[in-house]
């Protein structure tokens, strides 16, 4: 167990260093030095050289990479010369709101997907199952911005039930005070996640329904309710842990699009705006953070699984 965890940690660290290497290389190829952006197009070569020397952009690449790694380790993600603010500060400002949106959405998605998947597995090949499969297949094939657009069209423009813009509050508490404005963004993200989760849940529940322990539970006279809730749910929702870890890249992408569509000031909107202003330090720092989140998510999922599932005994 200990050996497994150590190896798992080690490979996570190696992968994170690899991600840093990729983002560093991309940053270096796309914008080797922000000197031009800072000093303007009329700066003389001497001024540029002076800037590069002062900020270390003239040092050999491996040395610059070591500095980059060191800075990342100290949660210093660089400096946005366009916004004249450190990227870390910008992230701190926006992370809470993005985490709120994603966290709430994933929680609701899991709460819907687990019972839904089990229901479909129990009633498999019924009309209800086919209908739900068709719905989830459609959602599954839908780009998230289209889900958002349809929701906006129906609920904001025609029924006037919910606003079409997400809360513009600057603090998490402020956002929570205006829950109505978050219904549509959350609903879009939930629809996206439920489609994937419930299909997986259904197949996991189907596999488990065929197992002997379910037969035993039924044979000893348990009510169907007890069989499902006490035995099936626990066992078949274990893979959800892994699935959530694996779905982080999609979640980040979905977050980016949702925040853009609903103009919700979070990390995704910051990324989108930086694309327009070609603010590469922000763009690549968010890519790096996203990659690290994915690695950590998978790591946590793996560790959680080894603790929750006694059948998994890794050496």
């Amino acid at each position: 167990m200990i050996a497994y965890l150590l190896r798992r940690f080690l490979s996570a660290i190696i992968v994170i260093i690899g991600i840093m290497l990729v983002t560093f290389t991309m940053l270096h190829i796309i914008s080797p030095s922000p000197a031009r952006a800072v000093l303007g197009i009329k700066a003389s070569p001497a001024q540029i050289a002076g800037f590069n020397h002062a900020h270390g952009y003239d040092r050999p690449l491996p040395q610059q990479f070591l500095t980059y790694m060191n800075q990342t380790l100290h949660l210093n993600f660089g400096f946005s010369f366009k916004l004249n603010q450190s990227v870390t500060d910008l992230f701190k400002e926006n992370a809470g709101r993005s985490a709120l949106l994603s966290g709430v959405s994933v929680t609701i998605a899991v709460l819907i997907a687990v019972p839904l998947g089990i229901f479909q597995a129990v009633k498999r090949n019924s009309v209800a199952d086919y209908t739900l499969t068709a719905v989830s297949f459609t959602l599954y094939s839908m780009p998230i911005f289209f889900i958002s657009l349809v929701l906006i069209d129906i609920f904001a423009l025609h029924l006037h039930v919910f606003p079409f813009e997400a809360s513009q509050a600057t603090t998490v508490v402020g956002v929570l005070k205006n829950p109505r404005s978050m219904v549509l963004p959350v609903a879009s993200l939930v629809a996206l996640s439920v489609a994937g989760y419930s299909r997986y849940m259904r197949s996991s529940a189907l596999d488990n329904l065929a197992q002997d322990y379910i037969k035993v539970a039924r044979a000893k006279g348990l009510s169907e309710r007890a069989v499902l809730w006490r035995h099936l749910v626990r066992n078949s929702s274990l893979p959800m842990v892994t699935l959530i870890g694996l779905s982080i890249p999609d979640l980040l992408a979905g977050n980016l699009i949702t925040e853009q569509v609903f103009n919700y000031p979070g990390l995704g909107l910051l990324f989108f705006n930086s694309l327009g202003t070609e603010d590469y330090p922000i763009l690549l720092a968010y890519t790096l953070v996203g990659g690290i989140l994915v690695v950590l998510g998978n790591l946590i999922a793996d560790i959680a699984l080894t603790f929750t599932d006694p059948r998994i005994r890794l050496t």
Binding site: F146, L149, D250, G276, E278, Y280, T287
Partner: protein, 315 residues
């Protein structure tokens, strides 16, 4: 975006019924002719109704996008600002967009880009991924470790971020988008093929080939890749669906193709501005085409996965 985990094995196990007629027990004493593995696969695939629907939709869109413009002529080179935002009516079955382009013709043109990018991306990703995975699985040792850590790094970095950064920096064409997407999508096939090769190389026929002194190249090209092909083919369909969706995202965020080329994502993002005005024809027809195409490839992938999964055949 769609397939939360591309190539995720094992759902819809109950769809085995498709094979039932094929496997009905032969009369006693007779040898039951089963046909080659390929024939069984084709038959299982053809008996899956969803797969046929999927093929039908794809064929329809191929005709619609490529033959359509030869039957239904519309000017897609110069706009007509005097006839912009027309409602569907005579002369313009789906109305016109903001620049006066005929919407139906524009959907055909956008579909060409979507299908081309989807196919090209899948080809690039599959070729690179298959070779990478085969080499890693066959050579093993430290090289395997290194190659697979690179794959881990690639899988951890959110594809959409990298694609957006590159297409914001360098202008996007069908070819460049396909290459960027392809180079971000080969990690999944690489991992799948490596897994397949690892199991295959322990099989007797590969040992036999090795014992008879066949070279490593021959083992890879003649024995391992052909046998791992089923996994790869299934993955291709999901790759196409994913690529079409990702391009739609990039286009929707306005970092996609440039005039005179157009992509469904572009069209949707143009249409969004007029959602409040009730110009539904700028959004729903394009959106439905996009969803149907992605769904068709997902259907085909699902059916193929069931058809090639040997373990699921009740022999």
């Amino acid at each position: 975006m769609t397939s939360l985990i591309p190539g995720m094995p094992g759902h819809d196990r109950d769809r085995l019924t498709a094979l039932e007629p094929l496997l009905s027990p032969p009369d006693a004493g007779e040898v039951y002719e089963q046909g080659s593995g390929f024939k069984i696969t084709v038959k299982a695939f053809a008996e899956n109704r969803l797969a046929l629907v999927g093929i039908g939709i794809v064929v329809f869109f191929l005709f619609f996008c490529y033959l359509g413009p030869h039957v239904y002529h519309s000017n897609q080179i110069s706009g007509n600002l005097g006839a912009n935002d027309l409602r569907p009516g005579p002369g313009h079955p789906l109305g016109t967009d903001d620049n006066g382009f005929d919407e139906l013709g524009r959907i055909m043109k956008g579909g060409q880009a979507a299908l081309e990018i989807g196919l090209l991306t899948a080809m690039i990703a599959t070729v690179v991924g298959t070779l990478w995975g085969a080499v890693a699985g066959l050579v093993g040792g430290w090289l395997d470790g290194l190659l697979m850590r690179i794959v881990d790094v690639g899988l951890s970095i959110p594809t959409l971020f990298v694609v957006l950064i590159i297409s914001a920096r360098y202008s996007a064409t069908v070819l460049s988008l396909s290459i960027i997407l392809g180079l971000n999508a080969w990690f999944v096939p690489a991992r799948l093929v490596r897994g397949e090769v690892l199991t295959l190389r322990e099989r007797d026929f590969v040992s036999a080939a090795r014992a008879m002194g066949s070279s490593q190249t021959r083992q890879v090209l003649r024995h391992l890749i052909p046998n791992a092909l089923s996994v790869v083919i299934v993955n291709i369909t999901f790759q196409i669906a994913d690529a079409i969706l990702t391009v739609a995202f990039v286009g929707y965020l306005n970092f996609g193709l440039h005039f005179p080329q157009v992509d469904w994502g572009d069209q949707l993002s143009d249409g969004v501005n007029y959602l409040g005005d009730g110009y539904w024809w700028l959004i729903y027809p394009v959106g439905i085409c996009l969803i149907l195409t992605v769904m068709a490839f997902n259907f085909m992938g699902d059916a193929l996965r069931d058809a090639v999964d040997v373990r699921m055949r009740k022999r």
